[in-house]
Symmetry: C2
Subunit: 135 residues, 2 copies
DNA sequence: TTTTACCCTATAGTTTTAGTAGATTATCTA
DNA sequence: TAGATAATCTACTAAAACTATAGGGTAAAA
């Protein structure tokens, strides 16, 4: 299942991508427009800022704004930041690899075999989609 | 993330698919061979039996055995039984569809758009793999 | 001094991953 | 045929992890 964190994060990004002249939008406004718990959204926007997608401005007239062009925001990056590994199993993860402790033979593992294909197919989708494609 | 339930279930299925003449294998043996908690595996095998993948036999010489040919066991079915919906969001699920309560416009939703592609790509993988392909 | 993002903590709820205890059924043996 | 044994079956419980959200205070910008 996609976490609400990711869902909300994606919605916030697409919302901000539509804003004219990238002027700052307040958390409250995004939350209201997208039906998101404001406090939850707060933490999501924070991680999006820390990971280089958004900029922020404090005080009156402040808020969040996109600091990249939507065309340059790949879904692979967004998903990894918000949702974590794209692979469904650590032993087939490119960026978060970990050996299964219960599995002696990775090459002979049926789960490994299947999940490798699933990872590749998901990866292809995410690589072929930028934020601009979702608008 | 893939649940351990699914992971163990897949491992058990591939293990049983390799058994000569489909003779019954005890839970304990599968659990030991695949490093799985026996009691947990017990409940997994039960749902696999209830869903028509396995047969069981009680008493001495009893155990579980495959009742279909591995070539006839599609991963779509297995995944839906063990893991649940293949879609990451209910609003793009074929078998478990549900409307998002926070989302007024499904067609205009960026998450919907993206997850539809992810679902289709995953579905293609699962459709192209039977249990036999994992051996 | 108001407005906004920032930061930390707590918590209710849910899901996952088991573990415990015993009932039930089939087979084997005396 | 009776009883012992071997296995699945069932239900309940529980610990742990994760998710989603709320509260309250701090810092910075206007």
């Amino acid at each position: 299942m996609l976490s609400k964190k990711t869902k909300y994060g994606l919605k916030a990004l697409t919302f901000l991508a539509k804003v004219k002249d990238r002027e700052p939008i307040q958390i409250a406004e995004i939350a209201k427009h997208e039906n998101i718990s404001q406090k939850f959204l707060e933490s999501i926007l924070l991680t999006l800022r820390r990971n280089g997608f958004l900029g922020s401005k404090k005080g009156k007239g402040g808020g969040y704004y996109l600091i990249k062009e939507p065309e340059d925001i790949l879904m692979t990056t967004v998903m990894r930041v918000l949702e974590g590994p794209i692979a469904m199993v650590p032993c087939v993860s490119l960026n978060f690899y970990e050996k299964c402790d219960d599995c002696p033979d990775e090459e002979g593992c049926s789960v490994h075999k299947l999940m490798l294909q699933v990872r590749d197919s998901a990866l292809e989708v995410y690589r072929n989609n930028t934020l601009a494609d979702l608008l």
